[in-house]
């Protein structure tokens, strides 16, 4: 900070949820014309802090100063009016409303007391253009957009509010490299226009590129503040997790011989206009990655294997035998033994209000029960094993799983499938929004599972992960396998260029919106 008066300053903020201390006398200053990054592992209190700043959560103690004057916000609306605009980690878009409705939601333009739809549309188009997302139609319903587009709408919505302080809480977690770079341009421009930006992300490279100033949170406190670039990645991670840290990715074993029989195979799989003649094989012991821009059919491919899609053409073979999988329940059956770690753990992986125990045993109930009655001893035994194996941190097995931190929730999702000892594991971007420490554990677990004989198909939006974890990577483009990268071919350059189809004829711009 160059000695300027901070635009916003919070001091001694504390917030408790029941027995949990989310924030403990946290301080933070943000100045105009700079990007301030906040780092910290899952549950460190980052989101809670910005929720306090945005008027969503009332702090138990502490004060907030805007332009040197003390302020309190009774509602998110009040914070908005003071110029503090926040893009929350859980997106705050209204699914049934249109993009334009959403962009102006907090303060729509009015004529004769009614909402002026023409003006609203102008504002929306303008904001979308500024966010670099002019390809999104303002009349489209948000629920019809893929996650990555929604995040762009969220950013446009924030820009339309003409913020003085813009807060982004993991706003890029669902975006792919192309979108991220467009967003970064926007953010840098905003910085040059004199805005104060607060940026939360678990992606170190993003922070390195963007931030001027960094603050690390741990256990609800700010433990260090430093100028961006003045510390090495390792130092930062150690600050975050409070212990030493090395080797993100486990070493890869020797490649599974190409002659080995495939465990999972697809032949000419096509579905609607989203999957186009996909053929692939995954062998036992292999981790096969799916790459490419977001929305190129990777999710659909996983769902197709898992029996969710109807009207599939082509063939799926398990252990060389063609199978027809008509539902997830067929997919998880003993003969097939498939598991899917879904995209959104909150709506697809977990029942948040139910207990950790109930969630863990949910997918294996048929195995844990005899005559429909649950064998509680067997259940307990298996759960203990899993909690140990994955080092799930929880205050108990009988608390709601929603009370766990994001990373631990994700572990529960994985553990619930491991309880069935699946032979084929499909992972749909499992590390989204998870801190580095937990990510590392997941990578190791993945390799361990492969080593013990599982076939793993792994989709990730993070290229580093694909490079670090996979034996092979299939890059998808517009529903087709664009390229297969094996072993040392898997480099960032190769991933990006094939993802963008650079050697092809089409331009990649706006492809993410093809939903």
């Amino acid at each position: 900070m160059d000695g300027a008066v901070p635009l916003l300053r919070v001091e001694g903020i504390s917030k408790r949820y029941g027995g949990v201390r989310a924030l403990e006398k946290a301080d933070l200053s943000v100045s105009a014309g700079s990007i301030h990054a906040i780092l910290g592992e899952n549950g460190a209190g980052k989101s809670t802090l910005i929720k306090v700043m945005a008027g969503v959560v009332a702090p138990d103690e502490g004060r907030m100063m805007l332009d040197g004057r003390e302020v309190t916000f009774a509602s998110p609306g009040a914070a908005n009016r003071a110029g503090i605009v926040c893009i929350f980690q859980e997106l705050s878009l209204i699914p049934e409303l249109s993009v334009a409705d959403n962009i102006v939601i907090s303060d729509p333009p009015k004529r004769f007391g009614m909402i002026d739809r023409k003006a609203q549309r102008r504002i929306a188009e303008d904001a979308l253009a500024r966010a670099g997302a002019a390809d999104i139609h303002p009349l489209a319903l948000v629920k019809d957009l893929p996650l990555s587009r929604r995040q762009m709408v969220e950013i446009a919505k924030a820009l339309a509010r003409k913020p003085r302080i813009l807060i982004l809480d993991e706003a890029t977690s669902a975006l792919t490299a192309a979108d991220v770079s467009r967003i970064f341009e926007v953010l840098k421009r905003l910085r040059s226009e004199g805005l104060a930006l607060l940026y939360i992300s678990h992606r170190m490279n993003e922070i390195a590129e963007l931030a001027d100033q960094c603050t690390v949170f741990r256990n609800g406190r700010n433990v260090a503040s430093y100028k961006a670039g003045s510390k090495s990645d390792n130092e930062v991670v150690e600050l975050m997790i409070g212990r030493e840290y090395s080797h993100i990715f486990p070493p890869k074993p020797a490649a599974v011989p190409a002659t080995a029989a495939p465990r999972l195979e697809a032949r000419k799989l096509s579905w609607a206009d989203r999957l186009d003649n996909i053929s692939l094989t995954v062998r036992a012991g292999e981790v096969v990655g799916l790459g490419g821009l977001d929305g190129q059919g990777q999710r659909e491919l996983l769902l197709a294997f898992f029996g969710v899609l109807r009207g599939l053409s082509g063939q799926i073979l398990i252990d060389g035998k063609p199978v027809a999988i008509a539902s997830p329940s067929a997919a998880r059956d003993d003969g097939i033994g498939m598991a899917l770690i879904p995209e959104d753990r909150k709506t697809e992986g977990l029942m948040l209000p139910m207990t950790v125990r109930e969630n863990l045993s949910f997918a294996a109930l048929d195995r844990l029960s005899r005559g429909g009655i649950i064998d509680r001893t067997a259940e307990q035994r298996l759960i203990d094993d899993m909690v140990g194996l994955l080092a799930i941190k929880t205050a108990g097995l009988d608390i709601p799983v929603g009370a766990l931190s994001g990373g631990n929730q994700q572990k529960v999702v994985i553990a619930k499938w491991l309880m069935r000892q699946p032979r084929i594991i499909l992972l749909n971007d499992p590390t989204r929004g998870i801190d580095v420490g937990t990510k590392q554990e997941l990578y190791q677990l993945m390799r361990k599972l492969a080593d013990s004989g599982a076939a793993i198909l792994f989709y990730s939006t993070d290229y580093d992960e694909l490079i670090g974890c996979c034996d092979r990577v299939l890059v998808l483009y517009d529903g087709a396998v664009k390229r297969e990268l094996v072993g040392a071919e898997i480099t960032e350059r190769a991933l990006i260029s094939s993802a963008l189809n650079i050697d092809g004829k089409e331009s990649p711009v706006g492809l993410g919106a093809s939903a």
Partner: protein, 326 residues
């Protein structure tokens, strides 16, 4: 996509309801001994408009992802009240009308307050308030009776220029004066937003409480307009429990037929109006087909079952099974 396609997608439920209604009414009037005459239309309109008002009321609440099981009882209560108040000189009548509407608004507001500020689940909260409103209605009219300004009643249930049913004109006026401004106001949008995703709406700084409250209160008002109309149509007030319940349940059916999602956030009162008219035409079909009287209830039930299953056909086009779960 072109703009009009988005518009079409948004109005699909409403258009489907319109389509169902037109087909049914065409069958009805084609087979009616009196044909598509002004009298037949007027009769159908007067009956249909009553349910249309109650269905509009239900729509407002359903949009917020709530449900109002007391609309039928507010409808009855205001009917009983109107049979006392809407009489006499034009001035007295006008005051009476206003009083009845205010009472309806008040009932709606009480529902809203209990659901929003009391944080109760709308289903039970409105079952309970419905009992209270019915009780008050019964106090007002222990047995059927009362009267209404018959000139006004005849004018509003008669025909304009000898052709257009006046009740349809009133319905249109209510749509223009209540529904259109509401749906385009900030509060209306807040109601939609709250129904679609309450958390997201709250985080976006939308005035959800005020929006929902307005929806409940206006629902009371619309039910009261329905109650007034019932009085105009019958010249009396009556606290008939079964009839109040029937209107509540019919209003839900009408709302669904009208393409309003019971999960909130989606649909319009216009759709619900056509849903109500279509629902009412199911009953009318009994006239034009010669059914054994004891088979009539079954016939109506089956038609209703078929009508509500129509929407399920879209299901067979779903290619991603996850779409089953919203």
């Amino acid at each position: 996509m072109k703009d009009w396609r988005y518009w079409l997608a948004e109005q699909r439920g409403t258009l489907l309801a319109l389509g169902i209604f037109i087909v049914m009414f065409a069958i009805y009037s084609a087979n009616h001994p009196a044909g598509f005459s002004a009298n037949v239309v007027q009769t159908a309109a007067n009956k249909g408009v009553l349910l249309a008002f109650v269905a509009m009321a239900q729509t407002l609440v359903v949009i917020t992802a709530g449900i109002d099981l007391s609309v039928g009882m507010i409808f009855l209560l205001t009917n009983c009240l109107a049979s006392w108040l809407v009489v006499g000189t034009p001035m007295q009548t006008a005051v009476g009308v206003v009083a009845v509407l205010v009472v309806g608004l008040l009932c709606g507001a009480i529902n809203g307050a209990i659901v929003i500020y009391g944080r109760l689940q709308p289903i039970v909260a409105t079952i309970a308030t419905g009992a209270v409103y019915y009780g008050i209605g019964l106090l007002l009219r222990p047995f059927p009776g009362g009267s209404v300004n018959e000139d006004l009643a005849d004018a509003l249930t008669g025909r304009v220029f000898g052709v257009v049913p006046a009740s349809l004109v009133v319905l249109l006026a209510v749509v223009l004066v209540v529904w259109v401004p509401f749906s385009r106001s900030v509060l209306g949008r807040a109601a939609y937003a709250a129904g679609s995703s309450e958390t997201a709406a709250y985080m976006s700084g939308v005035p959800i409480r005020r929006g929902k409250f307005a929806a409940y209160a206006l629902a009371g008002l619309l039910a009261a307009i329905g109650g007034l109309f019932l009085t105009f149509f019958t010249y009396t007030g009556e606290a008939a429990y079964a009839s109040g319940n029937a209107y509540t349940l019919f209003s839900i059916a009408a709302v669904v037929l009208g393409g309003v999602s019971l999960f909130g956030g989606k649909g319009s009162a216009i759709g619900a109006i056509f849903g109500a008219l279509a629902f009412r035409t199911i009953g009318d079909l009994l006239f034009v087909f010669d059914f054994d009287p004891l088979w009539q209830p079954l016939f109506q039930g089956v038609i209703l079952l078929v009508a509500v299953s129509l929407g399920a056909f879209a299901l067979f086009r779903v290619r991603n099974r996850l779409e089953w779960f919203l």
